[in-house]
Symmetry: C2
Subunit: 304 residues, 2 copies
Amino acid sequence: MYFSSKKNKVTDKDNLYPVFLASEINKSLIYYTGKYRNSPYILRKAIEYSIRNGGKRFRPVLCLLVSKSLGKDYHNILPTACAIEFIHTYSLIHDDLPSMDNDDFRRGKPSCHKKFGEDIAILTGDTLFAEAFNLVLKYQIADDSKKVRVLKEIAGASGAEGMAAGQVVDVYYTGKKISRKKLEYMDNNKTGKLISASVRCGAILSGASAEDLDKFTKYSENLGLAFQITDDILDVTSSRDVIGKTSGKDSIQNKNTFPDMWGLEKSKAIAEEKINNAVSIVESMDIDYEWLVKIARFLISRKA
Amino acid sequence: MYFSSKKNKVTDKDNLYPVFLASEINKSLIYYTGKYRNSPYILRKAIEYSIRNGGKRFRPVLCLLVSKSLGKDYHNILPTACAIEFIHTYSLIHDDLPSMDNDDFRRGKPSCHKKFGEDIAILTGDTLFAEAFNLVLKYQIADDSKKVRVLKEIAGASGAEGMAAGQVVDVYYTGKKISRKKLEYMDNNKTGKLISASVRCGAILSGASAEDLDKFTKYSENLGLAFQITDDILDVTSSRDVIGKTSGKDSIQNKNTFPDMWGLEKSKAIAEEKINNAVSIVESMDIDYEWLVKIARFLISRKA
């Protein structure tokens, strides 16, 4: 399995990852990031640098996969899928800042603040966050009630009971002992909620029933936790060349991680259990679940 | 005229400022910032510290005044008015950061990063931005089409063609020579657009006609520019005790300002002209414009 961020192409030798969807998203991201012709040049460059920087596009891919599993044309929800990638990218830019995780590399290239300076990096993150809402508001074709539901998902997953809250716990407890409950809170908020929002937005925009929405949500919660655990494991076991960012940093910075709390083997077992849960949930649904199963399996088999 | 940020009370000896509305907003802000009981303690504290820190509440006051001028009960739009103050506060927190304007004081107290650290300050800003959207989505009573219009105003005023873009120009050109056109772009985006959004949101939620909305917009554009010019002038002429933040910083940091470009007297004349424009616009409308005129006059008479 291999993600080439340099060529902005995603390839997957095991065929567990829907590379065709990642490519669709990359095309849309190039299209939407080309729309800021009236914005300051350096801001435009920083947006393009950060967004067109490869990556798996895991969250927007999930969003599209849910639509596909319901037999809908996933092209219709590309604006929302891109909005979610905007939010993810904004969070990475802010996380990498010197006063946060202080990471000089992201996806194998200098992080935004190393390339453009801290001030521009903070403002690029801020801009992408605002523009995520604008993508949905301006380009998503859906009736207003669905737009409101989608925006609730996105704003809810990002704020005081979502991503930002999880990151607060992360930076606040770095180097301090943390309870298992807090570690789960942190992972759920920092990573889990945006992954859930990706799945739920796909379901909402594709007209999923309340019952299906509930099942998709449970699928996404299992997936989210497995994703974070695997990320922690990869930080221990992988090298920078493969994961594209500085590895082993969690341990150097005394970050609270799953392997730290449970050990490597137990962490792997928990991740596998979560993936099995996720798989059985979608297999119990009357949908075309093939890719939803594959991407779940991909999560724990990935090397980067 | 005097704004006591310590007691969270606003008083105005010249009776040009609708102090009763600022008090309403302060009450609502206390209410809404008390809703984050499930969020990390330090994040909650930083939100309360930053939001409950006095200030004129100029933007949300404007929002309510427009509603009042149309004969509507302004209490109905308090969630949106508070959302706008959340966005304003988020922008101040990020602007004050060491890598941006590096300001240690805000409203007479240590700025957020001095009190809670840079990491928490960045995340508090991020959280307030997300929660601004949540305030509208969760608490604003309006049909979905109006909510969508309001969110478009807010997101539009904040992003790549709004506040963040203006701040990019500000930090990028600090210490460099700037053209008049760029200075106007900077002020319009950094300050003007959120002020316009405040006015427009009040109008939209209060059912203003397209014609009135257009006039309110022109009123707000004149107001916004006068506001920024007066801010620049106060930075030159006032002291920290009065304006509650470090004064004279624009000149020390080689910021591009109106007095810098046009001189003090000409800047004052431009601000007055803008205010006169604003006043004649609302006086030509079939609305109860008394307070909209007063607050315009207030803007250029203020000492802080």
